[in-house]
Amino acid sequence: MASDSVIEISGLSKTYGSGDKGTLALNRLDLRVNRGEIFGYLGPNGAGKTTTIRLLLDLIRPSAGSARIFGLDIRNDSVEIHRRIGFLPGELTLWEGRTGRQIIDYVGSVRGDAKGIAKHADELAERLNLDTSKRVRDLSSGNKRKLGLVIAMMHSPELLILDEPTGGLDPLVQQTFHEMMDEYRDKGKTVFLSSHVLSEVQAICDRVGILRDGELKAVESVEKITNVEFHWVDVTFRDAIPAGLPQQLEALPSITDVSTNGARIRMRMLGDFDPLLRAISSGYVETLHVEEPSLEEIFLAFYSGDKES
């Protein structure tokens, strides 16, 4: 194994069930995540992201293949691996009747350094604006998520495995989270982050793996993925779409798939906004709505040559 690989996955497969009723959730996954990088694991729901994470954590067992973390086998050395990682599950469940502080102390004691960990946990909680004196059942879903982040990060693990980490967090806390991830990378630590939100991955990740139907379709730098990015743009005019505008837009090289509906015009746009803004300036624009493409669309664009266009 290369010395700079923190995660090395080789031919990892997982089938749920057996025989004809078996469902292939992950198919011969090969992947390396390097030390000191933030790796985004992108895919639509059901693509196999959580299955991969659960395999890495030895919560489920592979049907074929193997994986190593820090050079250690995920099955035989799981306790040692878990000592050095932090994990935030996608659907976080905690002890409902206990306070954040009690859970932090308990997890800290299982990790073997309750006092030292608690100090760092306090710093993280303060930064995330989390009140650890409240019982879990009294926390909002966003605050539960913050507590999950504190628990995952409080022992300063060498590797963070985060499954959809920012779901339920408000934008300000998401920003703080992004800063924390940047600091993590600066310290030479590694983050493996699954998400189906492209903008989140763009904001913090160095490399991205795109998973679809249990198969890893691409591993690219974030820049490369960003280059294939396009937007859906909706423009609503106050009165009516100016005459000849749809044809004018279709003539622009960066705009395709123009459709109209009353005073509203929708299009797919690549690259800069300036040509579009100039074209629509002939009418009174009431609203302009820009929509991120779905992962599926990015994926299709990436492989259908849109990048070149």
Binding site: R54, L57, P89, L92, V110
Partner: protein, 268 residues
């Protein structure tokens, strides 16, 4: 094994000792209170005498003569009733060992910590085994305090031992539930099969003790209720081998649970 999970289990579930221990203790006090009145006891014995043997067994009675003494009354009635209530606790405790956490998703957080599956299951089992012991001891304490307070003519030693003898059976039901939960993964299935185990054991004991023959003897021998000998302590016929059989079964059952739990997927 560090004992941290045992400690956490006790911290989160210690109230069960209070609720169940006091609940069963109050039942003990009620039976102590009746034992104060020889007329009620003998009247009850007369009533039971008219019943067929299977019905007597269902009431936990094999020797009517024992019911005419306060000591025999307490042991026969209380132990058989407490055994049923403790079985309910044991099923719940067995589910709490892993099934509830697995179904809720909490197990994903726990098993991402540096603790092996085997150590976790063992510590949870020990935690709930200690809670069960606490319940039995508290219930015995309250029952004995009632006997002393009401000046009932009964040997405290016999009463204490007969109540304590419920503990291995409670461990057995807890372990069987834990085994079913690790095997089936689904809480509802574990509850169903554990309840069936308790009910079938109870019926087998009642039928087995009321008739003789190869089949009925077998039925009695496989029922854990037949190893809870409250009356044997009064008659001086208690055989420690019976408790050892239950404890050996508990150990085998837990070893199987461990084997299944460490080798299968979690939370699917």
């Amino acid at each position: 094994m560090t004992g941290i999970v045992v400690g956490n289990t006790l911290r989160t579930s210690w109230k069960q000792i209070l609720y169940w221990g006091v609940g069963l203790g109050v039942l003990g006090l009620y039976i102590d209170f009746i034992a104060m009145s020889p007329d009620i006891i003998s009247g009850y014995a007369d009533l039971l005498q008219a019943m067929p043997p299977a019905m007597l067994q269902a009431f936990g009675v094999s020797d009517i003569a024992l019911l005419t003494t306060a000591e025999g009354w307490i042991v026969s009635v209380f132990v058989s009733e407490a055994a049923i209530f403790l079985s309910v606790f044991a099923v719940m405790a067995g589910l709490n060992i892993c099934a509830n956490d697995e179904q809720s998703g909490l197990m994903d957080v726990i098993l991402s910590l540096p603790i092996s599956r085997a150590a976790y299951l063992l510590e949870r089992w020990i935690g709930f085994a200690l809670i069960g012991l606490g319940i039995v001891l508290l219930c015995a304490l309250i029952t004995i305090a009632g006997i002393m307070g009401m000046s009932v003519d009964a040997s405290l030693d016999v009463i204490f031992k007969s109540i304590l003898n419920l503990y291995p059976a409670a461990l057995l039901v807890m372990t069987v539930t834990c085994l079913l939960a690790t095997a089936f993964r689904r809480r509802a299935m574990a509850i169903g099969f554990s309840a069936a185990f308790v009910v079938v054991s109870y019926i087998f004991n009642a039928i087995g003790a009321s008739a003789s023959g190869a089949i009925t003897d077998f039925m009695e021998s496989v029922s854990y209720f037949s190893y809870i000998h409250g009356e044997a302590f009064v008659l001086g016929s208690y055989n420690p081998a019976d408790s050892f059989i239950i404890i050996a079964t508990v150990l085998i059952g837990f070893a199987l649970s461990l084997r299944i739990f460490v080798s299968r997927d979690i939370g699917i």
